[in-house]
Amino acid sequence: MASDTDIAPILTTRRDEATGFLQKVISKGLGWARKYSLFTYPFATACCGMEYMSVAASRYDISRFGAEFPRFSPRQADLLMVVGTINLKQAPILKRVYEQMTEPKWVVSFGVCASSGGFYDNYAVLQGIDRIIPVDVYIPGCPPRPEQVLDGLMMLQDKIASEHHGLGNKAKLPERPGYRDIVLSK
């Protein structure tokens, strides 16, 4: 069951799919293009938001890595940055924002609060956003230094660049149940 809910890698990679030479070239080119054109949706809820501003502003300048353009509509974004404490009241909102994003999409969990609940082990706080949505990169720290964030972003870029794309492959990809369907079918 656990693997069914792991809907993380969006354009899937069946190993036998991307073996051809053309496939590899296309994958490389697409990965290269995608990793430098991340549109961020900052889901900023708490103090980490200040750190996000610092990363985005001129001194650390996230635009050097091609992720400078925050979109405040999930439909235009492909990188969801969850910045700050997510409490149980907000969890459905976060889930909904994630579901509204178009694929391919990636999630970065920014700070320990988003990654694990941080020190808020109390009645109100979600203990890590990976309890409701899949996460690609976790950035620790309370708040993380901007260098850490850039490091995390570069890790995500490596991940994106090394994804294989099944372009030109006419075989049908296996149907992937949405999270909601899994929950409802229980």
Partner: protein, 177 residues
């Protein structure tokens, strides 16, 4: 430390005052009867110039020594007079299920304060008119800041992924961590 407010309450509404005392920090407190608090608030606001509602809170005294456990809750009021530079500290003691009379009709600012106290301690206010939860969601059961509410009593609004994790607190998915 000026005790003008408490002196005036003592003189003008002696039947409302249960007790006066000075706490360990040296601040004067007045304990008011639950049904008299709107009259006291009216006196303070309209005649004595305490026009500023600062805040409200409550204390659950469940784990205090036995003689302090009854009544269980204290509702605290902080009212300030800017002219006199004085903070009036009032409190009302009630047991579970008892009602405090609302001062929303006197201080509009007490609207959210009373909703907060209702949300987190479950003390209800008579005559408030719109006593909903302030911060927690409607589906939440119980009152989170009561001493007998479990520290990790998380009530999820949506199902969580079945995740096991040694290092963080349990989620609400029912998987034992």
């Amino acid at each position: 430390m000026s005790t003008f407010a408490l002196d005036q309450i003592h003189q003008q509404l002696p039947e409302a005052l249960v007790e006066r005392y000075v706490d360990r920090a040296g601040d004067a407190w007045g304990v008011i009867k639950p049904e008299q608090i709107p009259h006291v608030a009216k006196l303070l606001k309209e005649r004595l110039g305490f026009r500023m509602f600062i805040s409200m809170d409550a204390v659950d005294r469940l784990h205090l020594p036995a003689e302090e456990q009854d009544p269980r809750f204290e509702v605290l009021y902080f009212l300030r007079s800017v002219e006199r530079n004085e903070l009036a500290r009032l409190k009302v003691r009630v047991n579970e299920g008892d009602e405090v009379h609302s001062i929303r009709g006197v201080y509009q600012g007490a609207n959210w304060g009373e909703r907060f106290v209702w949300d987190f301690y479950g003390v209800s206010f008579k005559g408030h008119g719109d006593l909903r939860r302030l911060l927690m969601y409607e589906e939440f059961k119980g009152h989170a800041l009561r001493k007998d509410y479990p520290l990790r009593g998380r009530q999820g609004l949506m199902p969580e992924r079945p995740l096991k994790d040694l290092f963080r607190g349990p989620g609400t998915n029912g998987v034992a961590d």
